[in-house]
Symmetry: C2
Subunit: 367 residues, 2 copies
């Protein structure tokens, strides 16, 4: 499995793996793909600094990337305290009432009150500054094109910039802003995702941006057949996310003991695209928590970044409750095929070998 | 482009084309695919009889199929008059009010009052009886497995039975009912469709039914790259629908002069999955008509077959109004790539040649 992206980034396979876990990212890079560390969970720059130092030292010199969450337009913001004041009382009461109804206990006094601050522009900028002190080969932005000065700074450091797009017109404006690589994120993907499915979106984005801009196919990719399908659609590589939640290396990050039960038993029909996680539509595992927000009488989720602040403590409580029925987990429709916890290297090896088999099988169908 | 289905059906390419137009079906079959005539629009068996006779005579002896709409469970039903009595006054008033607001004129006295009866089980059975007097090689059912006696009857006549499935568990139960070929219909497809996108659904269905049951990939397929992607996912062929609405041969069936404007200008984001067409979730072109049903205060669509009876006259009025902004058209997300009206043979030739190019390109990516 080769594409021009392999030479560009010095990787063996054009398999890009988004993950919040440095252990998964390092294992993917060591196995020949490109591990991309999601930074949004790092509230403290010191912690990100230590984590990237660890990555530098545990990737056998192989390349890696980082993923930040930065809107192009700089929003009004403040401390989480200022923002907290903007959250309506009705929403806070709904969250409290729902957690009570779902049997999610409170946290011990003094624990886990703070939310994820990575959704704030200023924090995302601090992530970038830390990353630039290390050796990522790629900065990906989950919210489309980053601001122009950020793109420029990355390019000065010789770092490629990737952005997620759910529609061809967004991809075109990202390229106009200097973005180097487009991640065409289909409807079936976990996390932030649009309405257009990969089968339609990928070739549309590929044709829109033209042959000089590499496109990574994202959404629904968990096997070598799906990698081959994405590359048949014109992608030069794939962007994967959900499948790495089902790896042994990810367990370092897992606090909820219900985690593996929740995803191994889920079918591909057990996800929902909803605004309850961040305020923008994102695909999550369908659980009693997401269902509560879909019931009649539930409030509309708040806009980003307020919604995440609203549910931050709830997420911490949910994670501590170890209940697979009440979980808050961004995951794609591929969850239906995630039926066991495996080492990263095994997942990678299967992706590559099934890709090769698939292409050989297709070759026999030619006239 | 070859697959075992080519030998089974005596076709050159495993491209199955669902279409309500006998002209399109015949042209697809003559071009080496399998044209499948949708029967739901035929209220009179005489008309279907004449149409299938025409197909027999205009396919150069090439095979074709027919598509019926038959639920496995036989519903309570009656004449359209009996059923009409079950439609709430609120719904009738909403339709009248909406058509007025959208500027859709009434029909001339005595015209177009009757709805499409093909959604009724008894009418679907009459379609089957007519079809058995002709030479279809395939009977496809849009609503999953037909009743066991129907499957049996088809098999006695040497006719294969195909069924549309939007989830692996439905495919399994269809196979258990004797269905020979599964059409895995992804979320991005036009018409009745489920929540799981083709990228995830196709391999899931393929693996569920095993190697002895051929699967056709459906949803989002309008180019040779998409055919190759579907076959990479494990499909033995593809089931296409929307793209044939954009052909010269289809124009015989078009009464609304806004038709080509409506789909050539639409992007892949301009569809919506809604129950307003038949009562079951189906993907339609997003127009002022579908938007009216999504507005606050609009009634919930009725269950099948009542919803279609409710909107039947509205559809006739809409079709006669020639307004591309107010149209009722089942179509998939591939509509974004349907930018001109072309002959069927050109569409087929492009599907085949782009498939070959794609597989050749993939072959170069192998290790």
């Amino acid at each position: 499995m080769r594409s021009p992206l392999c030479d560009r980034f010095g990787i063996e396979y054009p398999i890009f793996a988004f993950t919040p876990s440095e252990h998964v990212a390092a294992a993917v890079s060591r196995a020949g793909g490109l591990g991309v560390l999601g930074c949004v969970r790092f509230n403290e720059t010191d912690e990100l600094e230590r984590t990237l130092t660890w990555l530098d030292e545990n990737t056998d010199g192989k390349p890696y990337g980082v993923d930040i969450v930065m809107p192009m337009k700089i929003p009004t913001e403040g401390t989480s305290l200022d923002l907290g004041a903007m959250i309506p009382e009705e929403h806070k009461q709904f969250v409290d009432k729902t957690l009570l109804a779902l049997g999610v206990p409170p946290l011990p006094e003094g624990e886990g009150r703070e939310g994820v601050l990575g959704w704030l522009h200023s924090v995302a900028r601090s992530h970038l500054d830390v990353a630039l002190q290390h050796r990522p080969v790629l900065i990906a932005n989950a919210l489309g094109s980053p601001p122009a000065d950020v793109v420029e700074k990355c390019h000065e450091h010789g770092i490629a910039v990737a952005a997620l797009a759910g529609a061809a017109k967004h991809a075109l404006s990202q390229v106009a802003n200097g973005v180097d690589i487009i991640v065409a994120q289909g409807h079936e993907a976990g996390g932030h995702t649009g309405e257009i499915a990969s089968m339609v979106l990928t070739p549309e984005v590929v044709d829109a941006v033209g042959p000089d801009v590499p496109v990574l196919g994202a959404g629904g990719i968990g096997s070598g057949r799906q990698v081959a399908a994405s590359m048949a659609l014109g992608a030069q590589g794939v962007w994967t996310g959900s499948i790495w939640l089902g790896t042994e290396e990810y367990q370092n990050l897992v606090s909820n003991k219900g985690w593996s039960t929740a995803f191994t038993r889920a079918s591909s029909a057990d996800t929902v695209r909803t605004r309850v996680y961040t305020g923008k539509p994102a695909r999550l595992l369908k659980t009693r928590w997401t269902q509560a927000w879909a019931e009649e009488g539930a409030p509309e989720p708040l806009p980003m970044p307020l919604q995440n602040l609203l549910v931050a403590e709830a997420h911490n409580r949910i994670n501590a409750s170890d209940n697979p029925d009440v979980i808050s987990m961004p995951i794609g429709q591929i969850v239906g095929r995630m039926n066991e916890v495996r080492p990263v290297a095994d997942v990678m090896a299967d992706l590559v070998s099934e890709f090769e088999e698939t292409v050989a099988r297709l070759d026999k169908l030619r006239a």
